[in-house]
């Protein structure tokens, strides 16, 4: 069993890499690549040169202009617990900044600078040092002893000569390769043009915290997931047990009355529900059950009432005689329609599965033996057969775990619930590379773990299965 587990765990690494690579390169090879839909995300065409410069900024900032395999490599380096450090981590290191600031203070020219400017110079020097691969002291020396224009020109020359030969091409895109224009730029601006790209420091790989990176909207992907996950979990933690609670007994009863009206009726009903599109059901539920023109029993969307923050926790009658439903009931009330939408399609599979496996077991030898020795039919069903029939359901449940995390795109969108499904789909539309890859990583990792867990549980639950 242990060998098997270890082998499976090791196999997960290439599988995971494969999944991530497929997702990444499909996105990268789509027309426009990752940066393509930047303008679209803004709602309309943006007028003017600005739009293009912004696009170029993002291309450089996130490296969309690099070959896809380089982008993939950088992303893997980001999420891997063992990898190379990035230039930005080094230059944002406060100790180094303080050191550089002290270095700045040592120059006579620095006397004229205020603290803020001094810090900016130190910052620029550190940036330059890391992007050019020069010792910070040299850069400082140049920046502070030479007039700004000469320093800027030198800076550009160094860039051209640096080991990264594509720099001049990138600078051309930003029209700062024209020396005349470049000289007129402030030193800070030049530094800004340069700081756009983070450099991988190719030294000995170190242990580091894995990171999912920043989304295009400028927030850490982990924060976005931390906000979306509780909503999705809440929906699923409520709806999955309810599905089991309805589907399993129905399946049992249907099996025990095989061919009867209950069997046929529940089968037809569940299959009909299963084939009814969720999108349509959601719209109908809102249109009829949350609409003042018909029945306004439920709210149209969201997780809480606008004034939920001011409500007491439990249903209470306030002094003055008005009744308020309270925060708890309000939340439950908001969850009814989405949970119904999540549930109704799930009955069919589970109840049919239960029914099938109960029927299987009812015709087994042990069930016949039990009947032969005079055990009543209901006892055969409830005490002998049921336990054995539920085995496959356990494994089905484990397989469902990844779906619980991934969330339902349609339900979350229709009912305006900011969960994982909505996060993933919005990211896909905006081609937000970091968010797509982050959610893919989590979902595929969970799927792989769940598959392993299922196989192990199978062995635990059924002694006939063995992996040794």
């Amino acid at each position: 069993m242990l060998t098997y587990t270890v082998r499976r765990l090791l196999l997960m690494v290439p599988t995971l890499l494969g999944v991530l690579a497929v997702v990444f390169f499909t996105m990268a090879m789509a027309p426009g690549g990752f940066s393509g839909s930047q303008l679209n995300a803004e709602g309309a065409q943006t007028q003017g040169e600005e739009a293009r410069r912004i696009q170029q900024y993002f291309a450089r900032r996130y490296g969309y202009d690099q070959p896809a395999y380089v982008q993939f490599g950088r992303w893997l380096n980001l999420v891997s617990p063992v990898g190379f450090k990035m230039a930005s981590e080094m230059k944002n290191d406060p100790a180094r900044l303080a050191e550089a600031e002290q270095g700045v203070a040592g120059f006579p020219a620095a006397a004229a600078l205020n603290e803020r400017q001094r810090r900016r110079v130190a910052d620029t020097a550190l940036d330059a040092a890391y992007y050019l691969g020069l010792p910070p002291a040299d850069v400082l020396d140049r920046l502070l002893t030479e007039p700004p224009e000469a320093a800027a020109a030198w800076f550009l020359e160094e860039l051209d000569a640096s080991e990264d030969a594509t720099w001049s091409a990138k600078l051309a895109a930003w029209s700062v390769d024209d020396p005349e224009a470049a000289r007129s730029l402030m030193l800070e601006r030049v530094a800004f043009e340069v700081t756009g790209r983070d450099r991988v420091l190719l030294s000995r790989p170190t242990l580091k915290w894995p990171s999912l990176g920043d989304s295009r909207r400028g927030r850490p992907v982990l924060d976005l997931i931390a906000e979306a996950l509780p909503v999705t979990l809440l929906l699923n933690v409520i709806s999955f047990p309810l599905i089991y609670l309805v589907a399993v007994p129905t399946g049992l009863l249907a099996a025990s009355r095989r061919g009867g009206w209950f069997d046929t009726g529940s089968g037809v009903l569940f299959i009909a529900l299963w084939s009814f599109p969720v999108m349509f059901a959601g719209v109908l539920l809102i249109g009829y059950l949350a609409n003042v023109q018909f029945l306004r029993w439920f709210p149209t969307g969201g997780l809480h009432d606008l004034r939920a923050d001011r409500m007491p926790f439990l249903p209470t009658t306030l002094p003055g005689g008005t009744w308020t439903r309270g925060w708890l009931l309000d939340t439950v009330w908001h969850l009814v329609l989405p949970v119904v939408c999540m549930m109704y399609g799930g009955f069919a599979v589970l109840s049919k599965l239960t029914r099938g496996s109960v029927l299987d077991n009812l015709s087994q030898d042990y069930a016949r033996t039990a009947r032969a020795k005079g055990v009543p039919e209901s006892d055969v069903l409830w005490f002998h057969v049921m336990r054995n029939s539920l085995l496959p359901l356990i494994t089905v449940f484990v397989g469902v775990l990844p779906a619980m995390i991934a969330g339902s795109v349609i339900v979350e969108t229709i009912f305006s619930l900011p969960g994982m499904g909505k996060l993933g789909v919005e990211a896909a539309f905006q081609k937000d590379r970091e968010v797509i890859m982050g959610t893919t990583l989590i979902a595929s990792l969970l799927t792989l773990v769940a598959l392993l867990l299922r196989d192990l549980l199978y062995a635990v639950a059924d002694p006939r299965v063995s992996y040794d």
């Binding site: 027309p31 426009g32 065409q45 007028q47 530094a191 809102i286 023109q293 149209t300 969307g301 969201g302």
Partner: protein
């Protein structure tokens, strides 16, 4: 089978689960109490601070009454539109306005947010130096009470209103203006979108506490626009955050506007489905009537309509497809008012005729062909049938409500006979009798029209045009493209004709779209329109600081573009909005509906209370 899972075990498990759930709910309840306490605590601390300040002012011998009166007097001058609402006989303070967004707003922090709706929220909270009056489009004082522009237009000096206060009561000073600019230009701040607009500003210098001087590096007609439009942020508040904190904290929104974020901006988190603004009690102008402005996020269109019917939200924007059914909807009209308006910021739709294909002049290089193609399309009928009447035929790139447009220019009429005559004059006629017109070399007039594949309205329009052109013997093939592919084709100039829309601003800069310099190097003149006259007018107007002289030049440009028809200008579109009936003083201005800070709800109609 000795460890049988029996009924007893089931109950034990159920009990355990129930205990766990109750514990969790208990923790949750505690947590809510704590949050509530925290916010009360914050509010108390704020009140204390105000009290201390007041005490100090009193003990230092300043006459606060006089100061306040002065302040109010100055403020009244600076927010006349809010003050005008106070003059209504049934004016009353109170009630909320609940607006709706179709998308989640992930970030409110100014400068670095990329969310489309962020500036809607920010416009209630942050103020700029000057604002355009939405009715007259003249610049009106905001944080600056006056300004002087040097004759060459390069130096602009703003005098700040000494009464101006941020929402924590701190005065707005020149240092805040300089700080706001420096923050924006700081390369560590993720604000490339806004930063590019300020590349023409050479320096921003404070002159004393209440004057700021902006210097531009070159004369630019939008120079004042850019300087006056800088969002002024409180230095003392934002300085406490490092650059990376500023970049990553989602809710750092604070300013001097009539509303402020409810609670501590630093602890605001997105994804709660709503954004709540409360009235800024320290506001230096006349107090707005509404207690709160709330933005809800409802992503689904059906749910949005249902929510509006249920009076859960107070504003509902109608799409052209819904318009015909909803405009007579009794239930909606009973509870709300319908506003149909044209707005300067609405933009226009067009068909662009690519004049150069593969380095050769295309069939559209002849101005007679372009004009004929314009006159073959019955744009009036298209506006009525395809856009439900919610569009007016455009004559050029400038919106007719603005001063850039020449009001004497009529759009080209629908006139197939004149169009056919023009085509014949240009050498296109049906020479072999197959129903398709050819030129002298026997080349048939045949082209593909690119349009965004995801859009139904574009598709209807394109098929309508296909019929119209077929009647004149022109073969047009629809070419629907996915957005990203379309952008690539635009970049490589690889299309015959394209139909799209441009967004609008109060005064737009045609340089990128119609100047011949923008043909190469990724500019937006992707139809390769080249006209010396247009180039001259654009170049001259862009450096003309005097507004009247400039408008005259723009109007001349309008005439040139009308004659040359580089685009077939299709429509300016109207917006349709339902607003709940209880709001008074809702007005249609040139830039859309007036802002909710000018609205009020008469006492007996008020629905929400704090």
């Amino acid at each position: 089978m000795n460890a049988r899972f029996g009924v007893k075990d089931f109950f034990v498990f159920a009990l355990l689960l129930a205990v766990l759930v109750s514990v969790w709910l208990g923790v949750k309840a505690r947590d809510r109490q704590w949050t509530l306490l925290q916010s009360i605590d914050d509010r108390l601390a704020e009140n204390n601070r105000t009290l201390t300040q007041l005490n100090r002012t009193l003990s230092s011998g300043v006459r606060p009454v006089a100061a306040a009166t002065n302040g109010t007097a100055a403020a009244t001058a600076s927010h006349p539109r809010i003050d005008a609402a106070h003059a209504f006989p049934d004016f009353a303070e109170g009630d909320w306005f609940i607006d709706v967004f179709a998308q989640t707003v992930g970030k409110l922090t100014p400068h670095v947010s990329t969310d489309v709706y962020q500036n809607v929220v920010a416009s209630y909270v942050v103020e700029t130096l000057a604002d355009r009056d939405p009715d007259t489009l003249e610049w009106a004082p905001s944080l600056a009470e006056s300004w002087t522009i040097s004759d060459d237009g390069l130096t602009i000096r703003f005098e700040l209103n000494p009464a101006a206060r941020f929402s924590d009561g701190t005065p707005v000073t020149a240092a805040d203006v300089v700080y706001s600019y420096e923050l924006l230009m700081n390369p560590k701040i993720d604000a490339p979108r806004i930063r590019v607009y300020y590349s023409k500003v050479a320096s921003v210098v404070a002159d004393g506490d209440h004057a700021v001087v902006f210097t531009l590096s070159e004369p630019y007609f939008l120079g004042f626009n850019i300087c006056a439009g800088l969002e002024i942020l409180p230095k003392h508040y934002y300085e406490q955050f490092s650059e990376s904190e500023f970049n990553e904290t989602p809710g750092l929104l604070m300013g001097s506007g009539p509303y402020r974020l409810d609670g501590d901006p630093a602890s605001w988190t997105p994804g709660t489905g709503k954004i709540e603004l409360v009235r800024n009690d320290n506001f230096w102008g006349p107090a707005p009537a509404l207690d709160r402005v709330v933005f809800r996020e409802i992503s689904d269109g059906t749910a949005r309509l249902a929510a509006f019917r249920n009076q859960e939200i107070d504003r509902f924007g109608v799409e052209a497809a819904q318009y015909l059914t909803l405009k007579d909807d009794e239930q909606l009209l009973d509870q709300s008012n319908l506003y149909e308006y044209e707005s300067l910021t609405g933009g226009y739709r067009y068909i662009g005729w690519n004049q150069v294909r593969d380095g050769e002049p295309s069939i559209f290089a002849d101005v007679r062909v372009r004009r004929a193609l314009t006159m073959l399309a019955d744009r009036q009928e298209m506006a009525e049938r395809l856009e439900a009447g919610l569009a007016t035929v455009a004559s050029g790139p400038f919106h007719p409500l603005g001063d850039q447009a020449d009001p004497s220019i009529e759009p080209w009429p629908y006139d197939p006979d004149a169009a056919n005559a023009l085509l014949k004059e240009a050498g296109w006629e049906d020479r072999d009798g197959n129903g398709v017109i050819e030129d002298a070399d026997g080349r048939e007039m045949k082209f593909k029209l690119v349009y965004p594949a995801s859009s139904n309205t574009y598709q209807q329009m394109v098929f309508y045009l296909k019929d119209a052109y077929a009647r004149a013997g022109i073969v047009m093939d629809p070419d629907p493209l996915e957005w990203t592919i379309m952008l690539q084709r635009i970049d490589s100039r690889d299309f015959d004709a394209i139909t799209l829309g441009w967004g609008g601003t109060i005064e737009s800069d045609p340089m990128q779209i119609f100047h011949s310099d923008s043909i190469e190097g990724g500019g937006d003149n992707y139809v390769s329109y080249r006209s010396d006259e247009a180039d001259r007018l654009i170049t001259e107007a862009r450096v003309t600081v005097d507004e009247q002289a400039r408008m005259a030049l723009w109007q001349k440009l309008h005439r040139v573009l009308h004659d040359d028809q580089p685009y077939t200008f299709l429509f300016n579109r109207k917006a349709v909005v339902f607003v709940d009936q209880r709001f008074s003083n809702v007005q249609v201005t040139k830039t859309g509906l007036n802002r909710a800070e000018e609205w009020f709800v008469p006492g007996d109609l008020q629905r929400y209370r704090d």
